[in-house]
Symmetry: C2
Subunit: 235 residues, 2 copies
DNA sequence: GAGTGGTCTAGACCACAAC
DNA sequence: TTGTGGTCTAGACCACTCT
């Protein structure tokens, strides 16, 4: 038997998702639900608060609770860890570190991370392999002032993304997904220079400080980003 | 002054994000926090429950609460409403309905929506324009058994995606993002057939029933998907 | 058995909205 | 003035974990 607050939440969720309650419609008042379920106000409140934090309803002090207007195509998209993706499909993951250098932040690299010119960056280029075949080309910059331990990490053995995820908590990130011709990545990827590729860029910050920038190029013919997800807070 | 449960939550969040508490570390017990803040257990419980539902900590009955292992690059990506995107950038939105037909579900279309062969689908093709210039090409299928009102909607005036979002609640969706050559979309988009394009596919369900499938092709040189977001539940 | 979190009660005071 | 939701208290019983 599910907890009462969960059953209350589920019952209201069902009425919204079935269409019985539409956007803007009123949810029963807390005291009505108390009477319906024969429980205390805290229990009802917990159910409604959960629905509100999930975005299914809007609560207004002094007015009541209402079904929320549907959100605009907000989607939870899993941006996968490359090694995990490859291994999950039963392939052997391989990593080839092509270049590693410490560079000043006064050039184009520094501009990408929006850093002052006197900082030092670790610049990495590597190729991710699936069954020894090129899968993705990655160019990464790491702000050494924010992550000094990265200077000693072995990025020929551990993918930079996996290493950072395990070592550095982040608070803000930005993704950009574009399609482009392979261009410079054509050689390492083993495709034609005009081949359509999926380009994933990510900027990551921790408490306002830039941590890393990464640009990953995938062969469009072999890679896609997919995500299955449930509607607003349906878990 | 923020509510007490929010301040407690914020204080713990800060300790996790600053790195003071790392993955697997123990969060103070509820009774310890009660003593620290001089409040009741319900208040502490509300703070910790919120952190747990945000994925920052894991709570285990009989053991305690612990900092969660960081999630694998899970990101909230906003898949934008095309009309809103164009208008938000200050351009004039235009829509050209190229084709509209009701088709049986016994062909390739039915397979895309995974529907029985006896169902009827509404098949639409349209071009989204920004300042009268082609911006994206959309091919859509709508399950008329699930959304009969769509048969009467004016999709020459309202983009199908906007119409559906406003009229039909969904519970499950799946996205697939790929890069591909323009191919058939080259003509309507006004680009070369080999031009790299971003292809966004979406399947949408409502309580297990297919609602719609859409495949949208964007000119890679003019379009990108971006998302700025905060870490696990940081609002 | 002692300690943990999960749930629930029956009150209370407050800020805010509508009348 | 009345009613709403937001917050908080000081208890309680339970299921579970660890020893």
């Amino acid at each position: 038997m599910a907890p009462l607050h969960q059953r209350i939440r589920g019952a209201i969720e069902a009425r919204i998702l079935s269409g019985e309650l539409g956007p803007g419609d009123r949810i029963p008042f807390e005291h009505e639900l108390m009477a319906d379920y024969g429980c205390s106000r805290m229990t009802v409140n917990k159910a409604l608060s959960a629905l509100a934090s999930a975005g299914l309803i809007v609560r207004q002090r002094g007015r009541g609770s209402f079904v929320a207007r549907p959100r605009i195509h907000m989607a939870a998209l899993a941006i996968p860890d490359i090694r995990e993706t490859i291994e999950a499909r039963g392939h052997v993951y391989g990593l080839r570190l092509v270049a590693r250098a410490e560079v000043g932040a006064d050039g184009a690299e520094g501009a990408l991370l929006r850093l002052p010119a006197d900082r030092t960056l670790l610049s990495l280029r590597c190729v991710h392999l699936a069954d020894a075949r090129p899968y993705a080309v990655e160019a990464r910059l790491i702000n050494l002032a924010a992550v000094p331990e990265a200077g000693a990490a072995d990025f020929a053995a551990t993918p930079p993304g996996s290493w950072l995820l395990a070592h550095v908590p982040w608070t803000q990130a930005e993704h950009r997904i574009t399609a482009a011709a392979a261009g410079e990545a054509a050689g390492p990827l083993g495709v034609d220079a005009a081949a359509p590729c999926l380009v994933l860029e990510r900027w990551t910050w921790r408490e306002g400080e830039s941590i890393t920038y990464v640009r990953t190029v995938f062969d469009g013919a072999r890679f896609d980003l997919t995500a299955h997800f449930a509607a607003q807070g349906m878990g």
